[in-house]
């Protein structure tokens, strides 16, 4: 038995606490059950499920490997491009915001205001940005890039701040003793520490952005989402199958490589 279970038996107060929480969760659970409405479930559901599974097992290979602008490969590359550019732009925007929200660097009120702004940016779903940007640039992948940029800022800046606040400042003392000026201290003492950590965070976010970008098509902001929804609405299951296969393979591949690169960056 580990400490937690022992504690549980040792102290009756704790037991009551856990009991209360359990009841609370149970009540919440029952409350949330009221949302389930089985009326809309029709018998065609089973047929559709079978259709989708059939489509995945029997994908439209021509579509999967065609290079035309309707082909899965092309759309996947477009999705990657949206995620890539969006990540780069988002990172560029996030860096100043991160410094502005580091209480080590700027006065407290400035840091608090920036933090609030970042929380707001982070909470608004990317799809909402997508719908707004479509009004700005018209539908298409460009709106997707802008959406991804804005949607990445919140998380990127938050993770950047953590790195900034954990900087090892001992190194500055030794650079002082070598006779470095302020620029040299930043270039050789701060930058190397920030660079690999920031890069690792950016790659992590790219990984997430790829998933985001793959659904932006649903609102018309480019990428593979739109063809997916069209294919589904038209019940073309083999097309759906090939798009899903392409998407899953791509995301798994990118995740694999991004994990490897990040491990190398962080552990050396």
């Amino acid at each position: 038995m580990d400490a937690i279970e022992k504690q549980l038996h040792a102290s009756p107060r704790n037991l009551r606490y856990i009991f209360t929480i359990a009841i609370l969760i149970l009540l919440l659970f029952i409350w949330s059950l009221t949302t389930v409405n089985l009326d809309n479930v029709s018998e065609s559901g089973l047929g559709i499920a079978a259709g989708i599974i059939g489509g995945i097992l029997n994908p439209d290979l021509d579509l999967l490997f065609s290079f035309t602008s309707q082909g899965v490969l092309y759309l996947l590359i477009e999705t990657i491009a949206i995620a890539f550019l969006g990540t780069i732009m988002g990172s560029i925007l996030a860096i100043p915001l991160a410094f502005l929200s580091a209480s080590k660097i700027v006065p407290k009120p400035v840091a608090s205001v920036t933090r609030l702004l970042l929380i707001i940016i982070r909470t608004i779903p990317a799809l909402v940005y997508g719908l707004m940007f479509i009004r700005v640039t018209g539908p298409g992948p460009f709106a997707g890039v802008l959406t991804i940029s804005l949607a990445s800022i919140g998380m990127l800046a938050k993770l950047f701040v953590d790195v900034i606040e954990e900087l090892d400042t001992n190194i500055l003392e030794s650079l002082d003793s070598i006779g470095c000026n302020t620029f040299e201290k930043i270039r050789y003492g701060i930058w190397p520490q920030l660079f690999s950590m920031f890069l690792s965070i950016i790659i992590y976010r790219f990984d997430m952005n790829l998933r985001e970008a793959s659904i932006l098509g649903i609102v018309g902001a480019g990428g593979i989402g739109a063809p997916l929804i069209f294919a589904m609405n038209a019940y073309r299951w083999s097309e759906v199958g090939s798009i899903l296969i392409g998407l899953v393979v791509l995301i798994l591949l990118v995740e694999f490589f991004s994990n490897r690169i990040r491990n190398k960056l962080v552990r050396g």
Partner: protein, 270 residues
Amino acid sequence: MYDRIFPPAKITLPNGKIVYEKKSRAPIILVLLVLATIISVRFTNFDLNTLFKRGHEFFVIIGQMIPPKWDYLNNIWKPLLDTIKMSLLGSILGSIAAVPAAYFASSNIVSKPVAAVAKFFLSILRTLPTLVTALIATFIFGLGTLAGTVAIFLFTIAYVGKLLYEQIENANMGSFEAMESIGMGRLQAFRYAIFPQVLPNYLSTSLFSFEGNVRYAAILGYVGAGGIGLLLDESLGWRDYSSVGMILLMLIITVYLIEKVSEHFRKKLI
């Protein structure tokens, strides 16, 4: 490979020792990144001109959101609560279902092939964006909150399941073997030896995934899977931005509160 194309530089020290300095990867990585950027710009029709000319439109829209339309609050409550219910139900059921899923994916508990198959399914589930799962779910379960709940349920299994099997695989196996040696079955030994070890982390992960699920659930309405997303879609479609502002404000407050509460309990757990 790289070192064969660009052989390392040879540096000879005054005392005759020779050091090989591998050529830096930085230039080629830089070239690749620039190439990738150019290709991406081509593929996405990225256009700075448009951005400069019409970028302010975005802020015009934001300007129209402020002040939010306070009367709209009455229309928001039900879908907002629906969103919370969806994510709550999906998270609770998903976290419970994640336990057997993680059990069968742990290579130190079950046989290697079984674990590999289970891991494969978990990673596919995790890879599919929630919105896509929700879209598929609306086709199978019909429009409404049930589809959204199913999507969140599936994602939670995958997410909590993955973190849980990683925990189980790193757990201390000594007590597991001890329990097996006194005649317990694998399942029982797991229950008494491994589960207590991973319990606090499991609860914390489940809470964390609930936090994230509220955010995801907010957009599921867009594909007809219930919740506040439907309302967002409608108001954005009608360009009724002050209502959008109100919805977003409520969403931000809700997410913030849920995060704070969940953070409080997560800190207690670890």
